[in-house]
Each structure stands twice: as C-alpha cells, then as structure tokens.
C-alpha cells in the first residue's frame, strides 16, 4: 500500500524525492489526490508504506520541509496522526 508525504511546493517535493533516492528509498513525485491538499493543488512523494519511517528519518535530517502525511485506511487515506 502507498503512503504520501506532502510538501509545500513541487520543488520541495523534488528535493525530498532526491534525498530519499540518494538514501536508497524508492519514491515518486506525484500530484497529491485532491482531498489531501488543504489549500488546493499539492505535490508530494509516494512510496510503499514500509519505507515511511525510514523516509521520515531521512527527511528530518535534511533541509527539506515536508507537510502532511497520508496513510491508507480502508479504500482511502487518512492523515497520519489523526
């Protein structure tokens, strides 16, 4: 199952994706599903759920700010931490 880490801008999503890729984490820059963006259009990285914890450690150690995280729930997603 896929999880999404959202970023404030496409550029930061690309920067985040690059950091993850350099750490051996397979991820992909995607346009986030509409319901995930609280201000409208958003970009994020999508990855398999098993990479989430490691991804957050990599991102926390780097200069890129990330935003909301969405994990699968039922047929859809819920925001992690809610």
């Amino acid at each position: 199952m896929s999880v999404y880490i959202l970023f404030p801008t496409l550029l930061q999503a690309q920067g985040g994706n690059k950091l993850l890729s350099e750490s051996g984490i397979p991820a992909q820059v995607v346009k986030a599903p509409r319901q995930m963006g609280d201000k409208g259009c958003a970009y994020g990285v999508r990855m398999s759920e098993r990479w989430l914890d490691r991804s957050l450690r990599v991102l926390d150690a780097g200069p890129i700010r990330y935003g909301r995280i969405f994990v699968p729930e039922g047929d859809g997603f819920r925001e992690a931490g809610t």
């Binding site: 404030p8 801008t9 496409l10 550029l11 930061q12 690309q14 920067g15 820059v29 995607v30 346009k31 963006g37 609280d38 201000k39 409208g40 259009c41 958003a42 970009y43 200069p63």
Partner: protein
C-alpha cells in the same frame, strides 16, 4: 558576421543549448500542472536547472533560485520587494535603466555614488558617503557600457556595516566571474540567462536571500485554493507558465560554464578584449575608454567626429556587429562624461576569437575618420 555585441546578448551559444530548446519544445509540457510523464519531465528539467544555478552561485538550496524573463524582470521584483516610496536608495554611477526606472517608478530618493571611470577606490569612498541613511542600495557588478568592474565585495561589506540591504545587478558578470551569493550577503542578485550564462533570450535568474514580494499574481500549480500567492519560494515569485524551453537551454548554458569554469571562460574573454583594446588604442581618430585590469567584457569608444552611430553603421556594412548610443544607461554616460555623444561599444564572449578581433581592427584601420 563578426559579432561584438555580447553585452546585449550572447549570440553564439554551446550547441547543446539549441538542442535542448528543440527537445523541450517537442517533449516538455508544463511543470507543476499535470502529473503525466511530459509534465514530470519538464519538472525534472526545471529542477535540475535550479540545482545547477544554485551550485554555480554557491547556494545551499535551489528554492531561492527564481526564474524570470530577464534581468530587468528580476531587478523589478527585487526593487519592489525592498524599496518603499520615499526611501533613500544608494546606487552606483554606472547603473542601467533596469535599475533606475523601477526605482523612479517606486518613488525612491536616488543617491548616486559617483566616481571616475575605473576608479575603484573612488567608488568605495563614494558609497561610504551615500550609504548612511539609505534604506537600500543597488550596485551593478560590471558596467554594461564601459566594462568597468566595480568593487562589489567592498561595497557589499560597507552595506553590511551600515545595515543597508543590497541588490546586485550581475547582468554583465554572471557566467564570467565567480559570484558567491551567500558570501556577498546581498538580499538579491539579478541576472539575465541570455548573456554570460549562455542561455536563450526570455530567461533570467533572481537569487534571493530571504522572501520577496510578487510582481505578478496568478497560478502557481500549488495551494490553488488560496486567493493570495503562496508564501514559499519559488512559487511566490513564479506565477504563470515558465519559459520551459528557455530554461532547458539555460540548463545547458550553465552546465557548460560549470564544466569549463568561470575562470577559464573569463581568461578567454580577457585575451580577446586585451587584443581589441591594444589595437583600438593605435587608431588615431578613436578615443578609447580602457583600463586593462578593471575591465570585463566590453570597451567603449568615441570617434573624433563624435558620431558613434555613423561609425557603427559603417562597421555593420562591413560585417561587424556593434552597438552605439547610450546603451540604456544614461547615468553611466553622465558619470563618465559621455552623455552628449554616447559611445560605440564592442563586447566579447568566450566564443569570440582572436582572428575576428584582428579582422575587425584591420577593417577599422582602413577607415579615414
């Protein structure tokens, strides 16, 4: 054609630049809009260009590299972000209209740091005199008219001491001089993509230290439900569709510069400029404004009859492309004392050859003024 107008635009570019433009025209859609391969391909290319530019200018993050249409657009964003109506702004005596006109439009009180041509110490003293009480300063790195390399590091240090935010116009230096943007501590640095950076026309860069005010409001492909522009860079300053093909070409221009190094490219230019200035100095009916060590890329001259436009036309008829007039920098001419005639300017690039310079000189030596 012998092209000696690189200060206007670098006509000869690395071959990869036009290949990249053509490829982008065929393969790149709009970044930050859709998420299909052609859009993501465009997004990746734009990202790479920002990264290369950040590396070239010693910046940690590509977020603060903004794409603009040209240096004028970049300077307007910078001026509108820093200057408020009535603010005293210190400028060098060699600024282009791309600096002066936005300042006038913004209602700034302009104080000119004036010093004789090629007098670096004089320029530092002049800034020392005009900076106290200034709310901002704008300084060109190299004069587009005379090629005069201003003492930017020293001026930046003075601005830092006085707490005056500095905007740098790197139109004539980006790509041929190493510019350490964080080291300068300037708030903005503006440059065209189509001169020393060897990219296509329709491109420019604005390097930002902090945030800035948008000049243009519109779609950014992000946070669309906000009625105002997003806070984050670069989106805040990049409304509308980017010149994707231009950025593709600019990416190759910057890659070329990074592969070769600004020092090597500057040396290539310097060899040609020195050859040109030495040859021009031997023409008795020409007054040449030259100074070997403080001059980058361009040399200005006035024929004895004062008619620069006629000389430029004569040269054009013989296949030599130059520019005559005020070069959109009347302030520079006022400072140097050349306002009544303007000047004829010849300017080189890393692709100018010694052979073309010798050819130009031999054609000029045949003129009887």
């Amino acid at each position: 054609m012998i092209y000696l107008d690189s200060a206007a635009t670098s006509l000869r570019k690395p071959a990869a630049v036009s290949r990249a433009v053509r490829r982008a025209l065929r393969q790149c859609a709009s970044p930050g809009r859709g998420a299909y391969p052609a859009a993501m391909r465009a997004a990746d290319m734009v990202f790479q260009c920002r990264e290369e530019a950040a590396a070239l200018f010693h910046m940690d993050s590509p977020d603060h590299v903004i794409f603009t249409q040209n240096a004028t657009h970049a300077l307007n964003i910078a001026v509108y972000s820093v200057v408020v109506p009535g603010m005293r702004v210190a400028v060098s005596g060699y600024e282009h209209n791309a600096v002066i006109r936005p300042l006038v439009a913004r209602g700034a009180e302009i104080r000119v740091a004036s010093a004789p041509l090629f007098d670096r110490e004089g320029m530092i003293d002049a800034f020392r005199r005009v900076l106290p009480g200034a709310g901002a300063a704008v300084c060109t790195h190299v004069s587009n008219v005379f090629g005069f390399r201003l003492p930017l590091r020293e001026i930046a240090a003075l601005c830092r001491e006085e707490g005056v935010p500095l905007i740098v116009d790197a139109s004539q230096s980006a790509g041929v001089m190493d510019i350490d943007f964080p080291g300068l501590d300037a708030v903005f640095c503006a440059m065209p993509g189509h001169k020393g950076l060897l990219g296509p026309q329709g491109t420019g860069l604005l390097l930002c230290r902090g945030s800035a005010e948008p000049l243009l409001y519109g779609g950014t492909g992000s946070q669309s439900e906000r009625p105002d522009m997003p806070e984050d860079l670069p989106d805040r300053l990049e409304a509308g569709t980017l010149n994707v093909c231009g950025v593709a070409g600019l990416l190759e221009g910057i890659r070329y510069i990074r592969r070769n190094g600004t020092e090597k490219l500057a040396e290539r230019e310097a060899v040609c400029l020195t050859l040109l200035m030495d040859g021009l100095a031997r023409i008795p009916w020409l007054r040449v404004f030259s100074n070997g060590t403080e001059q980058i890329g361009a040399v200005s001259m006035i024929p004895s009859d004062g008619n620069c436009e006629a000389l430029a036309e004569k040269l054009a008829e013989r296949g030599v492309a130059v520019r005559a007039g005020l070069h959109c920098a009347p302030l520079a001419h006022t400072t140097a004392g050349t306002l009544s005639t303007g000047t004829l300017r010849m300017s080189v690039s890393p692709f100018t050859s010694a052979g073309k310079i010798r050819n130009t000189l031999s054609r000029m030596e045949k003129f009887k003024n």
